[in-house]
Point group: C2
């Protein structure tokens, strides 16, 4: 298995908030074929936890995190587009991050990893495109945190992207989202097993990661979805513990928490989470000023009414900023009830919306 | 200081889900004077964490948790009404709960405390009224969890209450609220310091209680309020810890968490929290059937549009069930932006709404 591909960038990588990584590795995957005149490249920047494996392909037939939307004939049609997906710098799916070995010490970076920004994530993704000798993108796609990284990318490389597809993202983190993320981080770092970031990989702060993931699931979904899905249904609980799951919804959270613990590195989680809180490219100025210099020909902004983490008014703000900056922008406010996660699961609504965004014949 | 008053019920108290407490103590406070014909009694049942000290009085001039609404000339006018507020059974403000000494062992009940239901809370409150020789209530008031306990009280003592004032409560816990509470409980019981419930009072599971309280604050308030209140304002952080609060909203959560830890007993918290998840008097049947036999003359149901924990549609469901059961019911859906906590802080909206509910001249 040669997936993901790894680009070794053997030069110093300066981090925006200070610190330099002597060299970095970046994991990425590609689908489709780059056209001779290189006019069909599409870059996907991801949310906090996904890898570069957006969809299955020959080298890795396992299902990807966006399998329903990326592939031959699908909304992001890999028969037509050359699609690249990069694992974020700071993550743990092949790209350099806190869980990687620091070549200068031979030990994991752990808490010595420099402070991470989404501008660093964007710059690192740009290095992969340089490596692939792709200067121009037809479309830059960013769901969730990926939409923030996409905006950072556009600011760093103005005039190199024709179209933006921003999904359930934000121009900056609002206090409610910051509060949720701060809580998730505290669950992890306050777990004694976190050991100030020096936990052993086989002994992660599991209690904290479980809680963080459960907070995540609560904020990624919606009360409306769960009302219909779980009602007050009980499970057959073994009651090994007085507070063992008893309602369906508790068992659902438990399942997701168990899957997450041991699969995602706690430091990577903390570093990426905090990067989202810091992101604020307009920094109180008018966001349309930021958008004005990006050189986009068109944009699509998709959001979901039930999203409490990246609420619909933030999607409208992105669309309005683009429109005010003179970028022809289509705004799609979807009635999905699955909250922030809708772009992963409400394919019935997202397939046509993403197809429309990707169409060159609107 | 003789506040709160303690009623010692020196008889066995059978718990609904099994188990018997050999005797119980119940803390309560009163305001105003009971009329000669005992027709002006008002009972307040509380949310999860408040004590019986709803408002200041001669014996305890300190500010109460509902000071703005309870007092002479206030919305709940103690010049007119004889107001009683009881600390919930299972709580730790004077009433018997997991933090109390088990007379049979001389040790704290801790995790041996029997499973607690809101029906037990209601029955215990009823014993205080028996002790005060009050059979009939003019008005039963229940905000939040207190609204659930109030409904349990009405079912246990049909025909003894003239008017119900239900505030930001629910007929049962929906999966979203259950998920939030399960998460809060897990933060506490999974803290190693919880020690399976046998922590020492001076060494509580502080990390878990901090997290539980922060989850609470996030679910008690609203994104809208925090957007206006905190924006992206920073604090002067000492950065003693890499993840120390940096944004105003983080510092706000930190302050509330610090206040809570050490003041509320963790086992009491767990027992009361779980009681809310279990509460479901209609148990899938039509709630109006439950309401039909209560003997109420009128009811007021107040809810808040921004409440994510006890959402407005649950308030409407209470009002509709009462109305269908033939109880003349006034529903007040308030536009408060402070979420579930609005009844404690949005006095501008709650004062007139509660005044209307308490008025006998509508």
């Amino acid at each position: 298995m040669t997936s993901p591909r790894i680009y070794k960038h053997d030069q110093p990588f300066a981090m925006r908030r200070g610190g330099v990584l002597a060299s970095i590795e970046l994991a990425y995957e590609t689908w489709g074929t780059l056209s001779d005149n290189k006019d069909n490249a599409v870059l996907i920047l991801t949310g906090l936890s996904p890898s570069a494996h957006a969809a299955s392909h020959e080298d890795d037939p396992s299902e990807g995190w966006w399998e329903a939307l990326v592939g031959p004939g699908k909304a992001i049609d890999t028969d037509r587009w050359y699609v690249v997906c990069v694992n974020s710098l700071g993550s743990c799916w092949g790209s350099t991050g806190p869980a990687s070995i620091d070549p200068s010490t031979g030990e994991r970076y752990g808490p010595t990893f420099p402070e991470l920004c989404l501008e660093d994530v964007a710059a690192a993704a740009g290095l992969v495109l340089d490596h692939l000798d792709i200067e121009y993108l037809d479309t830059l796609i960013g769901p969730s945190m990926g939409g923030m990284s996409a905006l950072a990318y556009l600011i760093q490389r103005p005039g190199t992207v024709k179209r933006l597809l921003s999904i359930s993202s934000a121009l900056y983190s609002e206090p409610f989202a910051t509060a949720i993320r701060a809580l998730q981080r505290e669950a992890v770092w306050s777990d004694p097993e976190y050991a100030d970031g020096w936990y052993q990989p086989d002994q992660p702060p599991a209690r904290g990661m479980r809680l963080a993931r459960k907070v995540g699931m609560i904020s990624y979904r919606s009360a409306e979805e769960w009302r219909a899905r779980f009602k007050r249904d009980r499970i057959d609980a073994d009651k090994a513990h007085p507070f063992a799951p008893e309602f369906q919804v508790e068992s659902y959270l438990e399942l997701h928490a168990q899957r997450f613990v041991g699969s995602f590195d706690p430091n990577c989680y903390l570093w990426l989470s905090r990067a989202m809180d810091w992101f604020d490219p307009a920094a109180g100025e008018s966001p349309s000023k930021v958008m004005a210099g990006l050189g986009l020909s068109e944009a699509t902004v998709i959001g979901v009414e039930s999203d409490m983490l990246f609420p619909i008014h933030q999607q409208k703000a992105i669309a309005e900023a683009l429109q005010s900056a003179g970028v022809p922008t289509h705004f799609d406010g979807l009635a999905s009830i699955q909250g922030h996660d809708s772009f992963l699961v409400d394919i019935g609504r997202f397939d046509p919306a993403v197809r429309r965004a990707m169409s060159t014949d609107k």
